[in-house]
């Protein structure tokens, strides 16, 4: 006696590769996300209306300036920016950043109570012919109408 077996064909689309695709997406986003964390000093930023978004964080160098005259450039701290040693270090670091990426915009995050003498010192350091970091953005929070 011959037994005929019925061949069952599955009509469902296999979804077994779906988790792989989703995980791949997840890993992609995790890899491309840039998270820069610095020990930034506490500052009280000013508010402004005519502000523009910084194009890309990758092309930005962040400078913090506190009301006490404490300056931080990305991850370097300068306790006395008016001192020649600190100025030389600041210029050297900024020069290195500019040579690596000439499109760098300096985002200055200064405290409301900072004095303009400190800001002018930073201007002078950025304008230095050795450094030539001329694109500057005064970081501010958006003021509501």
């Amino acid at each position: 006696m011959i037994i005929e077996r019925k061949i069952h064909t599955t009509k469902e689309i296999s979804t077994s590769s779906l988790p792989d695709i989703i995980f791949l997406l997840l890993v992609f986003f995790m890899v491309v996300t840039v998270m820069k964390e610095y020990d930034a000093p506490k500052i009280d930023m000013p508010y402004a209306k005519a502000i523009q978004k910084l194009e890309n964080r990758r092309n930005a160098a962040f400078v913090w300036a506190t009301k006490d005259g404490f300056v931080v450039l990305d991850d370097m701290q300068f306790t006395n920016i008016r001192g020649p040693e600190n100025q030389a270090d600041f210029k050297k670091t900024m020069k290195y950043k500019i040579s690596n990426n000439p499109r760098i915009i300096v985002s200055l995050k200064a405290d409301n109570q900072s004095k303009m003498s400190l800001i002018n010192t930073i201007h002078t350091l950025l304008k230095d012919p050795e450094v030539n970091a001329l694109k500057l953005s005064y970081s501010a929070l958006r003021k509501s109408e």
């Binding site: 409301n112 109570q113 303009m116």
Partner: protein, 137 residues
């Protein structure tokens, strides 16, 4: 009659894996905060690049250490800097630009001027669509 033995399937059902992965993806998408940096953009002049400018094309805006603003030597309303809207300065800049579109606005500060006052003035000058802004120490 021949009976076929039914073999239990040994595979783990992975259909819910996609849901778990999606859930993780959505969780990270929702919880990630992308801090948008924004600010007032200016371009500093390179050193040794000074040029002579016709005095008629310069408007001087000075800010003193107590936050008082002088527009071409005239005092802009004393209270105005403390208020959120400094319309007077904005309209003064707009008027100057309407008269002379080549006008350069020179913002002058003292070493003790507060940064917040400087940003307020710069904000109104920029809000009035002035493009030529000079910063004097």
């Amino acid at each position: 009659m021949i009976k076929f033995k039914r073999r239990p399937s040994v595979e783990i059902n992975s259909s819910s894996m996609a849901d778990i992965a999606f859930l993780l993806l959505i969780f990270f998408l929702v919880t990630t905060t992308i801090s948008m940096d924004q600010g007032l953009e200016i371009v500093l002049p390179s050193e040794g690049n000074e040029m002579k400018v016709n005095p008629n094309n310069i408007t001087v805006i000075s800010i003193n250490e107590s936050g008082k603003v002088l527009f071409n030597g005239r005092l802009v309303k004393e209270k105005s800097l403390d208020q959120n809207n400094l319309y007077q300065l904005k309209s003064l800049v707009e008027n100057e630009l309407a008269n002379n579109e080549k006008m350069i606005f020179s913002v002058q500060v003292t070493p003790k001027t507060k940064y917040s006052d400087y940003i307020k003035v710069l904000d109104y000058v920029k809000a009035a669509k002035a493009t030529k802004i000079s910063i004097a120490n």
